[in-house]
C-alpha cells in the first residue's frame, strides 16, 4: 500500500486526465439530435418577424389587414397587441455604477433603433405562410438620422437615441493607479498605437430558437429553447410574464453551439412567449441565417488608443489606454453590454508587473444591433492591445519580444497578487508557460528560419501573445448587481437498481462535451464504467438549480459539484454495503462496479446487488438502515471572484507582400487551466477558440455603411473561418490546479479566442517589419495590409 492513499482523481481506473469517446457523439453524428426545430407539437404555430429595414426610423403606421387575410395566418401582431402581457426589461446592473439603458419591449414601440429590430410578428400554421404574410405588412416609415458610429453618437450635439437618458453615453469608467505621467516622463521609449476591432458576431450552427407552450388550464409555461442558461430563462420568463416560478419549465435538448449568443434576452424570443400566452397554442420561432445576422448580439467594435512606456533595460513602466466601444441602442438584458468594455479595462496589461496603469472606457449607444457578451468577452481586445504594445516596445528598444515578455511577466512565485485594476490572481504560471512555448515552437530555430527565408524574399512572421482568461466567475460577476444569474451549480446522482448512475446537473451541453466531462468525474469517483453513467442536462424540472454553461465555468464549478455529489453518493453506497456485508464502510471501496475490499481489492458484491437491496429488498437489511441512494451537492466559487487561467499563444505565418494575403502556417497554445479532466475536450476547446479568434483577426467583420445598414449579412459575404485556412494548432499544458476545490479545474473555453488575434497581429507586424509597416485594424484583410505596405 502506498503511504498517501490515492485520491479519486488519480486512482488506476480514473477517467480523469484521459480522453474518452463522447457518449453523445454517436447520436449527434447519426442525426438523432433533437434541436428546437425538430420538436413538433400538436397545434403548433410558427412565428415570423417583420424587422426594421432602417437603422433608425419612426413607425407612423402599420397596416396588417392584407397580411391577416392570407391563408394559414392565425394572427398578426404589433407592439400594441402585446401590451399588458409582459413587463419591459432594462439592461443595467447595480454594480456597474452609472450604467444606463432604456426599457426594451418584444416589438418596436413606434420607433426602430436598429436595422433588424422586430416590428411586427405573424403567427401562421406554417413558417412559409407566416413569411408570405410578413411580406404583406405595410409599414409607414419615417426615417430618422442614424447614429451608426460610436464617435458620432458621442459627438457634442448628437441627439440622444433615448431622449429620457439625456445622451448616448451608456457607461464610463476610469482607472488611474500608480504614477502614470511620471513613468511616461522618465521612459526611454514610448510607443503608441490605435487598435481597432471590427464588430463581429457569433455564428452558431443552430440559430437562436424557441418554442413556447402555454397551458392555460394551469397557467404553466414550457419553453423549449436553444440556450446556455435554462434556469436564468425560467426566472426571466416568470418575472416578465408574471408567472409563478414553479409554473415555468425550460427545456434545452441539444444545443447547436452558442458562444455566448444564447445567454441573452432577445425581443423576438420574448415576443414568441407573449404570443403563446396570447394564443394558447404552442408557438415556434427559429431565426433564419439572414435575420440572425441582424438580431443575434454582435461583439467587439472597439477603438483603443494605447500607449506604453518602457525603459532601455526592458522594463514596462506604464500603460495608458482609452477604449471607445459602441453597443447598439440598448444595453442587453440581463448581463448588460458594459461588461466587454469593463473587461478591457480590467484585463489590459494585467499579466505584467507594471503597476502604473491608466484606462478610460466609454460605452456608447448607437443605431446598430445590440452588442454583448460573446466568447472571450473583452479578452481579445485587452490581449491585442497589451501584446501589440509589447511588440512595439520591444522594437523601440531593439530587444527580442520574447525576452521583453520574460522580463515583465509576473513571476510564478509572486502569487497571490492583485493587478492595478483590482483583479486578484490566485496562482498563475506565465513564466513556465512562456518557457514551455519557446521550447515547443523552437523559437530560436524559427527566428533563424525566418532570417534565412527573408533573404530569399519570403516574408514570414512570428507573433507571441501572453494572456489571462477569466473563468469560474463567482456571484460578484452578475449576482451582486441584481441579475437572476446563478454562480453556483448543482449535481444530483442516483444509483439505479442495476448499478448504473443517473446524473442530473445544472451546467449545460451545447456541443463542447459537458456531459462527457461530467460523466468522467462521476464514473471515476463512484468506481463505475463510464457507460454506466447517464448525464441529464438542460431541464429546469429535472436538474438542480444552477447557472448553466458560459464564462468557462462548466468544469470548474459544475465539475466540482459533480465530484462532491459523487463522493456523497459513494459514502451512502458504502454505508449500505457495509450494513449488508457487516463491514466498516471505511474498509470498503468501489471499483469497476463492485464493492471491493479497500486493502486487497477483492470483490465482495456488485453495485447491482446494493441497488437491488436498497430499492427492492429492504426486508433483508438490518433494522434502522434507510438506504439513501441519491445525493446532491452544489458548488460555488467563494475564495476568489474569478479563477484566472493563463497561457501564451504563438503564430507563424507567411505574408505575400504583393497581394497582402496571409497564410497561417502554424499556431501554438500553451495554457494552464488547472486540472485537465479530458485532454481531448480541453484541446478541442482551445482549438475551436483559436479558430474563432483567427476569424476575428483575419475574416469576420459586420460591415456597416454610414446609414447603419449591414452590407454583408449572409454567409457568402460574412466570412467565417473555414478549415482550409486554418493552421495546425498544437496545444500544450502547464497544470496549476485551482486551490479551494478538490477537482482543481479552471476553465478553458475562451483562452483560445482570447490570445489568437494578438498572436496573429504580432506575427503579421513581424513579417511587415522590414517594410516599416504595421497594421492594427482587425480584421487584417489583404486590402488593409496592402495599404499599410503603401502598395495601393
Amino acid at each position: 500500500m502506498s503511504e498517501r492513499p490515492l485520491s479519486f482523481l488519480d486512482r488506476p481506473n480514473s477517467y480523469i486526465g484521459r480522453s474518452v469517446p463522447r457518449p453523445n457523439a454517436r447520436r449527434l453524428l447519426q442525426g438523432r439530435g433533437t434541436y428546437v426545430d425538430d420538436i413538433r407539437l400538436p397545434r403548433l404555430l410558427h412565428a415570423v418577424f417583420l424587422r426594421s429595414p432602417y437603422a433608425h426610423a419612426r413607425i407612423a403606421g402599420i397596416d396588417t389587414a392584407a397580411a391577416s387575410r392570407l391563408p394559414g395566418v392565425v394572427r398578426v401582431v404589433t407592439a400594441a397587441d402585446l401590451a399588458g402581457l409582459y413587463t419591459p426589461w432594462v439592461g443595467t446592473l447595480s454594480h456597474l455604477k452609472g450604467l444606463k439603458s432604456a426599457p426594451q419591449h418584444p416589438l418596436a414601440q413606434g420607433r426602430a433603433c436598429w436595422q433588424g429590430e422586430p416590428v411586427a410578428a405573424v403567427v401562421a400554421e406554417s413558417r412559409a405562410q407566416a413569411e408570405d404574410a410578413a411580406a404583406q405588412i405595410a409599414v409607414e416609415w419615417q426615417e430618422l438620422a442614424p447614429l451608426a458610429s460610436a464617435e458620432a453618437a458621442l459627438a457634442s450635439g448628437a441627439p440622444a437615441i433615448h431622449a429620457a437618458l439625456g445622451d448616448n453615453l451608456a457607461f464610463a469608467r476610469a482607472v488611474d493607479t500608480g504614477a502614470v505621467d511620471d513613468a511616461f516622463a522618465r521612459a526611454d521609449a514610448v510607443v503608441a498605437e490605435t487598435f481597432t476591432f471590427a464588430r463581429h458576431t457569433g455564428v452558431c450552427l443552430e440559430p437562436r430558437s424557441i418554442l413556447a407552450e402555454f397551458d392555460r388550464s394551469e397557467r404553466r409555461l414550457t419553453l423549449h429553447c436553444s440556450s446556455q442558461v435554462p434556469h436564468m430563462m425560467k426566472e426571466i420568463a416568470a418575472r416578465h410574464f408574471a408567472l409563478a416560478e414553479t409554473d415555468v419549465r425550460v427545456i434545452c435538448r441539444d444545443v447547436g453551439g452558442s458562444y455566448g449568443i444564447k445567454i441573452h434576452v432577445y425581443p423576438d424570443e420574448m415576443a414568441t412567449i407573449a404570443l403563446a400566452l396570447l394564443l394558447g397554442r404552442p408557438v415556434k420561432f427559429v431565426a433564419d441565417r439572414l435575420e440572425s445576422f441582424v438580431s443575434d448580439i454582435h461583439a467587439r467594435e472597439h477603438r483603443v488608443a494605447a500607449r506604453m512606456a518602457v525603459s532601455k533595460s526592458g522594463e514596462i513602466l506604464a500603460i495608458d489606454i482609452d477604449d471607445l466601444t459602441g453597443i447598439g441602442p440598448y444595453s442587453t438584458y440581463p448581463r448588460t453590454s458594459a461588461i466587454e468594455g469593463n473587461q478591457v479595462v480590467n484585463l489590459t496589461g494585467s499579466w505584467y508587473r507594471c503597476a502604473n496603469y491608466r484606462a478610460r472606457l466609454r460605452v456608447a449607444f448607437q443605431t446598430k444591433p445590440p452588442m454583448s457578451q460573446y466568447r472571450a468577452v473583452g479578452h481579445p481586445i485587452a490581449c491585442a492591445v497589451t501584446e501589440g504594445l509589447v511588440d512595439l516596445a520591444a522594437r523601440a528598444i531593439a530587444m527580442d519580444p520574447a525576452e521583453l515578455r520574460r522580463r515583465n511577466l509576473i513571476a510564478d512565485d509572486a502569487y497571490p497578487c492583485t493587478s492595478p485594476a483590482g483583479l486578484i490572481f490566485e496562482k498563475l504560471s506565465h513564466q513556465r508557460a512562456l518557457a514551455r512555448m519557446l521550447e515547443l515552437m523552437d523559437y530560436a530555430g524559427l527566428r533563424r528560419e525566418q532570417a534565412a527565408l527573408r533573404a530569399r524574399g519570403i516574408h514570414r512572421g512570428i507573433g507571441l501573445a501572453s494572456f489571462v482568461e477569466i473563468t469560474n466567475p463567482g456571484p460578484a460577476f452578475y449576482g451582486v448587481g441584481g441579475a437572476p444569474i446563478s454562480a453556483q451549480d448543482g449535481c444530483t446522482l442516483r444509483l439505479e437498481p442495476g448499478g448504473a448512475v443517473t446524473c442530473a446537473i445544472s451546467i449545460t451541453e451545447q456541443g463542447q462535451g459537458t456531459e462527457t466531462m461530467v460523466a468522467q468525474i462521476v464514473a471515476s469517483v463512484l468506481g463505475v464504467a463510464l457507460e454506466r453513467v447517464r448525464v441529464v442536462t438542460g431541464d429546469t424540472e429535472r436538474t438542480p438549480y444552477g447557472g448553466g454553461t458560459w464564462a468557462s465555468r462548466g468544469a470548474g464549478i459544475g465539475g466540482e459539484a459533480a465530484l462532491q455529489a459523487a463522493k456523497a453518493l459513494r459514502a451512502n453506497i458504502l454505508d449500505l454495503a457495509g450494513a449488508m456485508l457487516q463491514a466498516a464502510p471505511a474498509d470498503l471501496d468501489i471499483a469497476q462496479g463492485w464493492i471491493v475490499d479497500a486493502v486487497s481489492g477483492a470483490r465482495r458484491i456488485g453495485l447491482d446487488e446494493v441497488g437491488r437491496a436498497g430499492y427492492f429488498r429492504g426486508d433483508t437489511l438490518p433494522p434502522g438502515i434507510q438506504p439513501e441512494l441519491v445525493a446532491t451537492r452544489h458548488h460555488q466559487p467563494r475564495d476568489y471572484p474569478f479563477a484566472f487561467t493563463n497561457g501564451v499563444q504563438a503564430s507563424w505565418l507567411e505574408l505575400d507582400i504583393e497581394t497582402g494575403f496571409v497564410r497561417l502556417l502554424k499556431h501554438w497554445v500553451v495554457e494552464d487551466c488547472g486540472r485537465v479532466v479530458s485532454p481531448l475536450l480541453v484541446d478541442e476547446q482551445i482549438r475551436g477558440g483559436v479558430v474563432q479568434g483567427l476569424g476575428g483577426a483575419l475574416f469576420e467583420e459586420c460591415l456597416y455603411d454610414g446609414e447603419g445598414q449591414l452590407l454583408n449579412g449572409t454567409l457568402a459575404d460574412y466570412l467565417v473561418p473555414m478549415a482550409g485556412e486554418m493552421p495546425d494548432i498544437e496545444v500544450a499544458h502547464v497544470m496549476t490546479p485551482l486551490a479551494g476545490t478538490e477537482l482543481g479545474a479552471k476553465g478553458a473555453g475562451e483562452a483560445g479566442t482570447a490570445g489568437a488575434p494578438a498572436a496573429v497581429m504580432n506575427a503579421i507586424n513581424d513579417a511587415l517589419a522590414p517594410f516599416g509597416a504595421t497594421v492594427a485594424e482587425q480584421p487584417f484583410t489583404p486590402a488593409r495590409i496592402l495599404r499599410a505596405l503603401g502598395r495601393t
Partner: protein, 236 residues
C-alpha cells in the same frame, strides 16, 4: 432567402441530351448539365481544355461542385465565377436552344453584364463547345480569394496558343474581361520591360468596381500581380 420568387421552376435535370462530356468533330463538347465535379474528373477535359481542368478546384467546395452545372454557371453569369472566364479565354461557343430553334453564340459575346447574358427568356444553354488545346499550348489559372472556394477578389484565366495569347480577368468587372491592351504590351515589348509594360497597360483594360473585399484600386493592383505571375508561369 426569398431573394428571388420565380413563379415557375422547370427542372431540367432529367433531360438526358443536356448531359455528357465528349469529343465531337475535334472539339470538346460539355453538356449544360455536366456537374463541376464530373468536368474536373474528366480526362478528356484535362487533355483538351487544361485551363478548365485547372479552374474547377477553385469553384467552391466538393458538395457544391457535385451539384453545380457547367451550363448553370455560364447562364448565371456571376462576374466573379471561374467558368465564364475560361469560356472566353478558350474561344468557346455556347449552344442555345429554344422552340424557335438552335443557335450558337461565342462566349465573348454571351456575357453582357452582372448576371446578364445573351440568353433570350425562352432559351436554354444546351452545351458548350471548346476548341481543343493545340500542341504547344499552355494555360495558367490564378485567383485570389480570402478563403478557399470563395468567389475571387481577382482572377485570371490565361490561355496561350502558338501566336495567340488570351488573358481573361474575372472578379474585376461586370463580366469576364479580356485584357487586350495588356496582352498587346506583353507581345510587343522587349523581354526586359514586357511585364511592367503589360501591368501598366492593364489600367486601360480594367476599371474594377469596388466590392466588399476590396476597392477598385486594390483590385487593379491584385490583377496586375496576377498578370505578373501568369506571365512568369507562361514563360517558364
Amino acid at each position: 432567402m426569398r431573394l428571388s420568387e420565380p413563379r415557375l421552376l422547370i427542372d431540367i435535370n432529367h433531360v438526358a441530351v443536356l448531359g455528357g462530356i465528349e469529343e465531337r468533330g475535334g472539339a470538346l463538347r460539355i453538356g449544360a448539365l455536366a456537374r463541376h465535379s464530373e468536368v474536373g474528373a474528366s480526362p478528356l477535359v484535362a487533355r483538351l481544355a487544361p485551363l478548365v481542368h485547372q479552374a474547377i478546384p477553385h469553384i467552391a467546395h466538393p458538395a457544391i461542385r457535385n451539384r453545380g452545372t457547367f451550363g448553370g454557371s455560364l447562364a448565371h453569369a456571376d462576374p466573379a465565377a471561374e467558368l465564364p472566364a475560361c469560356a472566353v479565354a478558350l474561344d468557346a461557343v455556347l449552344l442555345l436552344a429554344s422552340r424557335r430553334g438552335e443557335r450558337k453564340v461565342a462566349a465573348r459575346d454571351f456575357f453582357r453584364g452582372i448576371y446578364a447574358t445573351a440568353l433570350a427568356p425562352d432559351e436554354i444553354v444546351t452545351a458548350i463547345e471548346i476548341p481543343p488545346a493545340p500542341a504547344g499550348g499552355r494555360s495558367v489559372f490564378l485567383e485570389l480569394a480570402r478563403r478557399r472556394g470563395d468567389y475571387a477578389i481577382a482572377g485570371l484565366a490565361a490561355a496561350a496558343r502558338p501566336g495567340d495569347l488570351r488573358l481573361v480577368f474575372f472578379g474585376v468587372g461586370d463580366r469576364p474581361i479580356e485584357a487586350k491592351a495588356a496582352t498587346a504590351a506583353l507581345q510587343r515589348e522587349p523581354a526586359a520591360g514586357r511585364v511592367a509594360a503589360a501591368q501598366a497597360a492593364l489600367a486601360r483594360d480594367l476599371d474594377p468596381p469596388g466590392d466588399l473585399q476590396a476597392d477598385g484600386a486594390t483590385k487593379l493592383h491584385l490583377a496586375r500581380v496576377l498578370l505578373g505571375r501568369a506571365a512568369a508561369a507562361l514563360a517558364a
